[in-house]
């Protein structure tokens, strides 16, 4: 999202005289762009959650599943990473460049850790597929799809599992999509590009990162409430 406006001021000065430079240094454009992106992605997550909740509200589930406990850990990891991200932003606002680098690195590491933990949970939940099949057999649902006539409809357990996969995968993709620019910003921080007066990349990353955090919390709560 960041663009020419992201160039440090001195770079802009150096480029002065180029035909398009002066128009393009637009304060606030980058932040607005990130804001719109976050809005658009929120619609994406919200609508998928609404779809799931709609189906889930139609009927009781066959059998409740246990969410892997590891999810609590990964949630904590993500929360902490949001804190380090914020600390990084505060650091550069006060001109503490090395502290910025440390915090960005921590955020990056925690982000990676989060992905790994999510992957483990995903494998874990795969095993409950077998359980779910047994549960379904008990109430007379054919695996081949469809409900034996005469039985009350129920939400099949594999709808839950599939929902789990869809949500975590969708979120994980966005985390990956956040790690890449975060890595770039980290690299630039190491190179000393940012200063007290110039840190747009850090700001955009932090907006996006908090967004990831909030989205995950909502997903997690929904999963907890419906599994």
């Amino acid at each position: 999202m960041t663009d020419d406006i992201d160039l440090p001021p001195h770079a802009l000065n150096a480029a002065a005289g180029s035909s398009r430079q002066p128009m393009l240094f637009v304060p606030g454009a980058g932040a607005m762009g990130v804001g719109l992106l976050v809005f658009s992605l929120s619609v994406l997550f919200a609508s998928s959650l609404i779809g799931y909740l709609y189906i889930r509200a139609q009927a009781p589930v066959v059998a409740h599943l246990r969410l892997p406990n590891l999810l609590w850990v990964s949630t904590a990891v993500l929360l902490i990473s949001s804190i380090t991200m914020h600390a990084g932003l505060r650091a550069i606002q006060h001109g503490r460049e090395s502290r910025l680098t440390r915090n960005l690195a921590a955020t990056f590491g925690l982000g990676l850790l989060f992905l790994i933990l999510q992957a483990i949970s995903a494998v874990d939940i795969f095993h409950s597929l077998q359980l779910s099949n047994i549960a379904m057999a008990r109430v007379g649902i054919r695996n081949t799809g469809g409900l034996a006539p005469g039985l009350t409809p129920v939400v099949q357990t594999h709808v839950l599992i599939a929902a789990f996969y869809v949500f975590t995968a969708l979120h994980a993709l966005h985390v990956i999509g956040g790690l890449i620019p975060l890595g770039v910003v980290l690299q630039r921080a190491i190179n000393g590009v940012y200063s007290r007066n110039y840190y747009p990349g850090v700001r955009y990353c932090s907006i996006y990162w908090h967004f990831l955090d909030v989205v995950w919390l909502v997903i997690f709560v929904v999963l907890l409430a419906t599994f």
Binding site: T2, S19, Y54
Partner: protein, 570 residues
């Protein structure tokens, strides 16, 4: 956040002098260009290519329907399936690769920064990324078609789209990318409009087209993610058997339709709003009179964009939605028709006491008004519950949306193309041929689609490879109309290409327009403006310019003081 760093070294800029077409040579200077005008042109070329492919598919459809048992595909389910693949591809290409992305991508990209007095869009690299997402999406669609062309209809209704053995997943992922491209374009335009207006360009001094693009962009950013989710869930459904949209697994097919139309109804406004913007520009310029009721038109664009979000259920009246919801959606549908009506009346009032010249763009704008009125009114018939249940999923609906999409969006787009053609390429086209083509298209469109209203009401369902013989007469008329359209488009291609090669050199302002996009030489330089324009009045005022016969265009004269405040002044 990434594009800047990644493509830091990609964009090299051409020196000042010459114009954007020749500043920077070689294929690379095009493929990696960050210039909004070049990106706009690339969209234009890609879009016209897709339009050509989609159009040829349409000719196949119309030829098939010449006889009741099908002229091309007949005799077996396998053959009908091929027909179904043809109309599916036609719909997908036209909607997702032409109507939604091309008016903003081609004309929006080219014109918007010019109109705002900006040197580019806010995020040029993102702009290029949008374009490549568009291309990638289109390529995936081609791949899917080669592997096993989709036969679901452009609406992908479940559970059929889950069961069919064609390559739905590829196609759907391709459209997902197209959607992403659309979101990024919308985002880019919104920020551009907010942040890159020239000094003095207040909100209510922006041209109609900018407002229309703004409304369009809002829909793109807010509605397209829902399409994304719908498509991803469809993929999950096919790959993992999620069961959300599949009744066999406890899901609900109607939920898919809700999701799909939650995007696709606003999407029809993504298609029509830029068209309305273009028509507004053309009418004021060729009536040489400020647009009538500027604020009403602006507000109606925004109203259409917002109310457009809550009418999607009018596609689901016969799907078992409860009567309460039916009523709400029907009500909102009628409500959203009001701003459209307002626009039409305002355009007419603009012509009143104008100084009208019926040049090619103006002819297109007038055609638009007629065709859109017919399309809009038949939409109203479809929005009424009692009549909808008789006409849903028939050729009546097909005719309705072709009147608004072909007669509306495409006609306005082509009008806009003729209007900005001199600015884009610095060449004039043959005016006589331009007018003849417009009339041919007008006749062709009516002949193609009007009989479809009747045949639909008479009892012909849509998406039929074969039909009952009593409908043949209408079908033949429709096919003849389609061939007339084809001839018109070929003629247009001929004189436009001729204009590129041999056309007369275009002056800076051939039509005497007063918006900023006509204030620089044709074609513009890469940087658009030599010096930052300063805006002191509203967008439309025609009494401060004079026709210069030597140039073949208009030049500014000192404004008459008494009239300086005319136009829209705030």
């Amino acid at each position: 956040m990434t594009t800047a760093e990644i493509s830091e070294h990609i964009g090299e800029h051409a020196p000042i002098g010459g114009n954007y077409l020749n500043q920077g040579k070689g294929i690379k200077s095009w493929l990696f260009t960050l210039d909004h005008k070049r990106i706009g042109l690339m969209y234009l070329i890609s879009g016209l290519t897709m339009f050509f492919i989609g159009g040829m598919l349409a000719m196949v459809i119309r030829t098939q329907l010449l006889v009741p048992n099908g002229l091309i595909f007949h005799g077996s389910y396998e053959a009908y399936k091929h027909y179904n693949q043809v109309f599916t591809l036609h719909g997908i290409i036209m909607v997702f690769m032409v109507l939604v992305p091309i008016p903003p991508g081609a004309l929006g990209n080219f014109v918007l920064p010019l109109m705002l007095g900006a040197k580019d869009v806010a995020f040029p690299r993102l702009n290029l990324l949008s374009y490549y997402l568009y291309i990638t999406g289109a390529i995936m669609a081609v791949v899917s078609t080669l592997l096993g062309a989709v036969d679901t209809g452009w609406t992908f209704y479940t559970p059929f789209s889950i069961q069919t053995e064609t390559y739905v997943v590829w196609m759907v992922l391709g459209i997902f990318l197209l959607g992403f491209s659309s979101i990024l374009t919308g985002l880019n335009f919104i920020v551009t409009i907010h942040k890159l207006r020239a000094p003095g360009m207040k909100w209510f001094r922006m041209p109609m087209f900018v407002w229309a693009s703004y409304a369009t962009s809002i829909i793109q950013v807010a509605a397209t993610p829902v399409l994304g989710v719908t498509l991803l869930l469809l993929v999950a459904e096919r790959v993992m058997g999620v069961g959300i949209f599949n009744s066999a697994l406890g899901g609900d097919p109607v939920l898919f339709q809700d999701f799909f139309w939650f995007y696709s109804h606003p999407a029809v406004y993504i298609m029509i709003l830029p068209a309305m913007g273009i028509v507004g520009e053309i009418i004021t310029v060729f009536s040489r009179k400020p647009i009538f009721g500027y604020k009403f038109i602006v507000m109606s664009s925004l109203a259409i964009a917002l109310i457009g979000f809550v009418v999607w259920g009018h596609h689901l009246f016969v799907n078992g939605q409860s009567a309460e919801w039916d009523a709400i959606f029907s009500f909102m549908t009628f409500f959203v028709a009001v701003p459209s009506a307002v626009k039409v009346f305002n355009w007419l009032a603009t012509m009143y006491k104008g100084a009208i010249s019926l040049s090619t763009p103006m002819l297109y704008a007038l055609s638009f008004i007629v065709l859109f009125t017919i399309g809009g009114f038949t939409g109203v018939i479809l929005g009424a519950l009692a009549t909808n249940v008789v006409l849903h999923d028939t050729y009546f609906v097909v005719a309705h949306f072709h009147y608004v999409m072909m007669g509306g969006t495409i006609i306005a787009f082509i009008g806009g193309l003729h209007y900005w053609w001199p600015k884009m390429f610095g060449k004039m086209y043959n005016e006589t041929l331009g007018r003849i083509t417009c009339v041919m298209l007008f006749i062709g469109i009516n002949l193609t689609f009007f009989p479809q209203f009747i045949v639909g009401a008479e009892g012909m369902p849509r998406r039929y490879a074969t039909y009952l013989p009593q409908y043949q007469l209408y079908m033949i008329a429709s096919t003849v109309g389609a061939y007339i359209q084809l001839a018109a488009f070929l003629l247009m291609a001929g004189y436009l290409i001729h204009s590129l090669v041999r056309g007369k050199k275009a002056p800076a302002n051939p039509w005497g327009a007063s918006t900023l996009d006509w204030s620089m030489a044709s074609p513009p330089t890469t940087g658009n403006f030599q010096e930052m324009p300063v805006v002191t009045q509203g967008p439309y005022h025609y009494d401060d310019m004079e026709y210069d016969g030597r140039l073949g265009g208009f030049v500014h004269v000192d404004p008459v003081p008494a009239l300086a405040g005319a136009g829209v002044e705030h």
